[in-house]
Amino acid sequence: MSDSHDAQPAGPYAVELKRINKRFGAVWANKDIDLSVPKATIHGIIGENGAGKSTLMSVLYGFYEADSGDVVIDGEKVKMTNSTHAIAHGVGMVHQHFMLVETLSALENILLGAESSWSLDASKAKARQKLEAISQKFGLEVPLDEPVGELAVGVQQRVEILKALYRQAKILILDEPTGVLTPQEADQLFDVLRDLRTQGVTVLIITHKLREIMDVTDNVSVMRGGKMVAHRKTANTNAEELAELMVGRPVAKDLPKGNLDQSQVYLSVRDLSYTDGKGIKRLKSISFDLHAGEIVGLAGVSGNGQTELLKILSGEMRGTSGMIDFVADGKPAYTCQTWPNPKQLRAVGVAHIPEDRIGQGLLKNFTMQESAILGYHHDASLGSKFSLMVKKVRDSALALIKAFDVRPNLPEIRSANMSGGNQQKLIIAREMARQPKVLLVGQPTRGVDIGAIELIYKELVKARDAGAAILVVSVELDEVLTLSDRILVMNQGQITGELKGDEADPRTIGMLMASSEAMKG
């Protein structure tokens, strides 16, 4: 296995990118990129965070204009300076960060820019018919009249795909479409992609999950540091080789864990219930214990109450009823109403890595070092009673940067200018730095490349071995299986199953989760 280029797959090509260059200021996101995608195939693109995948696809979609290079579609060189051009040439894209207007209905979102007449009502009526046909053909059901913001992410994803299909995309680009999907939803999506392929649609898909690459693609291209480093026929490669191509070194597979005394309870939850503003019961009498030195994985299809549970335990939201006992603080159990707020909890050793890192975990316009103290900004070590000392804040950020290899090594950089993977590393570093007794973790590796995943897993296990009690909420079954000493499965706001980590297998868990799906449907 070498880094040398395989030949590009044979034509005829739906898409050819030739010597594409794209720079953002000093960052050379795409460097002399060539890519050829045969017609009616599914083509995977992989690479580390920041490798330039999204940029390349945005160039193909006309969202960014390349500094130099050509875009050739169906053998014809086309001008591609604007999404209008892409749409006109049958290119559709589902962006990594959804391009949906949350206040508009699904139908309106799909329609936007592709209305058939000046009258919205007429356009809607026409579109509704057309969409029904498309939905049926591909099994992509969405509630057309609900505001998109109120739909689950999986459904939003479908809206995005419908948007592209509605415009009769011949070339469909999907940028990390499975990042927020459950395995079941992802499989459904792949079925749709295969269907599309048989209809002659060419699909380009970006993902960090090699399993998915192996599963669904015909060819795969690997990017690293803004360059295209390899092309493979999927049939001729395997996950290990691809991982190595991406990271440039072999990636460790197994995760050694120490054997620990796990008898001491750190956090105890009893009969916790939560009813939301609309009167829907999101949590129904949840009870479980979290022990020192253990990682408990909370598996389940998203939208079954995991998010709410995390928010309540972290103090961000109040439960409706039930008791929570933080054993380590030596105080009696709290009720839902007296459970402290996140700031107080962090001070006594309950840390929280949020599911939504950009939305919650940091502040785009803050510097990295300012984001690095979020939630700990009352820590005595950072200054005097009322003031924060810049030097101390900076030093604490540098410590995190060092411990977690956060890049770039510049505490003054704007948080928004860090890559997603590095944002995630910074947040994890921040929450783990003060050796919390209880660590609540939501989707730790969402959108993160395998190199970073490896690091994050190692650090979580290190914290566990140091005696922390860790609750990991994840929709990635592999993740839950890899990390957990014990696995809880959530289903419609209840805990429906508990398995020992080494006894659990994907099938059993999948069934517990699937049953909840069936009940929902």
Binding site: G25, Q360, L363, L374, S387
Partner: protein, 365 residues
């Protein structure tokens, strides 16, 4: 905001000084055209404006005096802005604070020693102004009533209230002013504190230094204090605030109180410092101008001080124009202000970007 990263590489003299100067020149250039169009000499207008604003006799002290009030109201807008709130209520907050200051000076002034009056008057300004900022803060935090709407309404309510106060209570005889305060309960003027400067006959008073100190304090508050950190988190992203355990509603209320209190300090300059009595409508739009000052100053205290000086100078130079150039209507000055706000603040990028790229090209070449 996104060009911050780029501008880090550029020297401060360029971004903070040279570019604004070019922008100012452009604004004045356009104003000159207008002057020409009404048949006057732009050079003369400019020199009168400039001399009027900066001559050492009366110009400079008046400029500084005007700036003092603007610094306070500008800082008020700034603090609220960092909490994500747009406080249009500086006018009402300062007006009410004026009442607080006046009551202290009228009631306690004759009995307390001057330093004590000073303290109590400032505290009164803070409390009255703060209280009138607290109301919209509370309504926003607890009831979701938008601050922009409530502060506009509260301004009018305060105008009516103070009208009532002056009419039925504090107004002296047939006048719409209160009694003059006792001499000992008026803030010392600069001409008394530093007689060698020779700023006689000008209302410039101790409040000017107080404004500078306040600006420094606000800088510390926003960028160096723990509370300021929380204020900025809430202003940037309320979700993140919830995650970090920062109470959004509490922070909103506190920020509005601070904002109102800062606006209230304007009354220290006007009521306690310059006028030595409470008069009807003494705020006369200065609370409102604070918005322009804060935004021109890029919501940074140093910027606020500079912007306040600029507007203070314009107001003073403009009033000098009335004496020396009676043929130009006094409102001309307002046009110049508008042009400056437009060119220096709103159209910032138009001039800034080309200059910056030019500079960078030269640097790399």
């Amino acid at each position: 905001m996104s060009d911050k990263k780029n501008s880090q590489a550029l020297p401060i003299w360029l971004t903070g000084f040279a570019i604004p100067v070019v922008q100012l020149v452009l604004a004045f250039g356009l104003a000159s055209l207008l002057v020409l169009s009404i048949g006057q000499s732009p050079l003369e207008v400019l020199s009168v404006l400039f001399r009027g604003a900066f001559n050492f006799d009366t110009g400079l002290p008046f400029t500084l005096f005007n700036a003092t009030s603007l610094i306070f109201t500008g800082l008020a807008v700034l603090v609220a802005f960092h909490a994500g709130l747009f406080n249009i209520g500086g006018e009402g907050q300062a007006y009410f604070a004026g009442l607080g200051v006046a009551l202290v000076c009228l009631w306690l002034g004759p009995y307390l020693p001057a330093p004590l009056v000073f303290l109590v008057a400032i505290v009164a300004a803070l409390i009255f102004g703060g209280f009138y900022g607290f109301i919209p803060g509370l309504l926003q935090a607890k009831r979701g009533a938008h601050v922009v709407v409530t502060t506009i309404m509260l301004n009018y309510i305060m105008f009516a209230f103070m009208d009532f106060v002056m009419r039925f209570w504090l107004g002296k005889g047939e006048s719409t002013d209160s009694e003059n305060f006792a001499e000992s309960s008026i803030l010392p003027r600069l001409s008394e504190m530093l007689p060698f400067l020779g700023f006689d006959d000008t209302p410039l008073n101790f409040a000017f230094f107080f404004a500078l100190v306040t600006a420094a304090f606000v800088w510390w508050l926003i960028w160096r204090s723990r509370l300021g950190y929380e204020i900025r988190v809430v202003g940037q992203n309320p979700q993140a605030a919830g995650y970090a355990g920062i109470s959004v509603s509490r922070t909103i209320i506190i920020s509005m109180m601070i904002s109102g209190a800062l606006a209230g300090l304007m009354a220290v300059n006007m009521v306690y410092g310059a006028q030595g009595r409470l008069s009807l409508s003494f705020t006369s739009g200065i609370g409102f101008m604070g918005i322009a000052v804060a935004l021109m100053g890029r919501n940074h205290p140093v910027g606020v001080v500079l912007a306040a000086l600029l507007f203070g100078a314009l107001a003073q130079g403009g009033s000098e124009m009335q004496f020396d150039l009676p043929d130009i209507s006094p409102e001309f000055n307002v046009v110049i202000q508008g042009l400056i706000i437009f060119f220096v603040a709103a159209l910032d990028g138009l001039i800034r970007k080309p200059i910056e790229t030019l500079y960078q090209k030269k640097g790399s070449a």
